[in-house]
């Protein structure tokens, strides 16, 4: 892991088009500014993991009997 020391207002460049800057330090919290192209996914790590894990779980469904679920769905509606 690369470890750098930065002051408020200073930045870090990742590749050609991603810039991370330190906006504010308040006690144990740091505000970080991120400038990145729209196709780059920028998320808090715990949120990213939550969605990623849910995607993996959803994809793990094998030969699911969707017809059965559709039947339950229909009963629910009726």
């Amino acid at each position: 892991m690369l470890i750098l020391t930065r002051k408020i207002g200073e930045g870090i460049i990742l590749g050609d088009d991603i810039r991370i800057s330190i906006m504010e330090i308040r006690g144990k919290q740091i505000r970080i500014g991120i400038e990145a192209p729209p196709e780059v996914v920028v998320l808090r790590e715990e949120i990213y993991q939550r969605i990623q894990e849910e995607n993996l779980r959803a994809a793990g469904v094998r030969d699911v009997d969707l017809t059965e679920i559709a039947k339950i769905w229909k009963q629910k509606k009726d």
Binding site: E39, R50, Q52, E54, N55, V64, L66, K74
Partner: protein, 158 residues
């Protein structure tokens, strides 16, 4: 080896794709949905096709064209929550080059626990947005929304 004539698509704008759930399917170029970036956790897969489950069923399959056993069950979130909203979408509209909001399709992925379909949940926090006009899609993550990534779809038994 010579290609099997029965499996060779006649239309040059289509391709035969092997899938685990549906066997070999013929997919036309204009049916292919491209997710860029790919779904979180599946960033290496970009090309999918939507397959209707049935006339009476609200469910659809989102089948990967690059991995035969990768398929998600998806549905319109309005079936789950009639007032569901993804929030401000100016950025994504621009990114997917959405010209008319009618072209923008929102779907959510369902998680179906093995053997307990009644307990299926919808990921309302990570909806899929698809521009039906150019078939470009993206999974959004609604960080500051009230929606759960595990929203129960059917009432609990009993």
């Amino acid at each position: 080896m010579a290609p099997d004539p029965q499996k060779t698509p006649v239309d040059p704008g289509s391709a035969t794709i092997a899938t685990k759930n549906f066997g070999d399917i013929v997919v036309r170029d204009d049916q292919v949905i491209t997710f860029s970036p790919g779904l979180l956790g599946f960033s290496e897969f970009h090309r999918y096709v939507l397959i209707e489950h049935g006339q009476e069923s609200p469910f659809l399959w989102l089948q990967s064209l690059e991995k035969s056993d990768l398929a998600f069950v998806v549905m319109d979130p309005l079936y789950v929550l009639p007032d569901y909203q993804v929030g401000p979408i100016n950025g994504i509209q621009k990114e997917l080059e959405v010209k008319s909001l009618q072209d923008l399709k929102v779907l959510v992925i369902l998680t179906i626990p093995p053997g307990r379909p009644q307990d299926m949940t919808a990921n309302l926090m990570g909806p899929l947005l698809i521009n039906l006009a150019n078939r470009r899609g993206k999974q959004l993550v609604l960080e500051s929304s009230p929606y759960s990534h595990k929203h129960r779809v059917l009432p609990a038994k009993g």
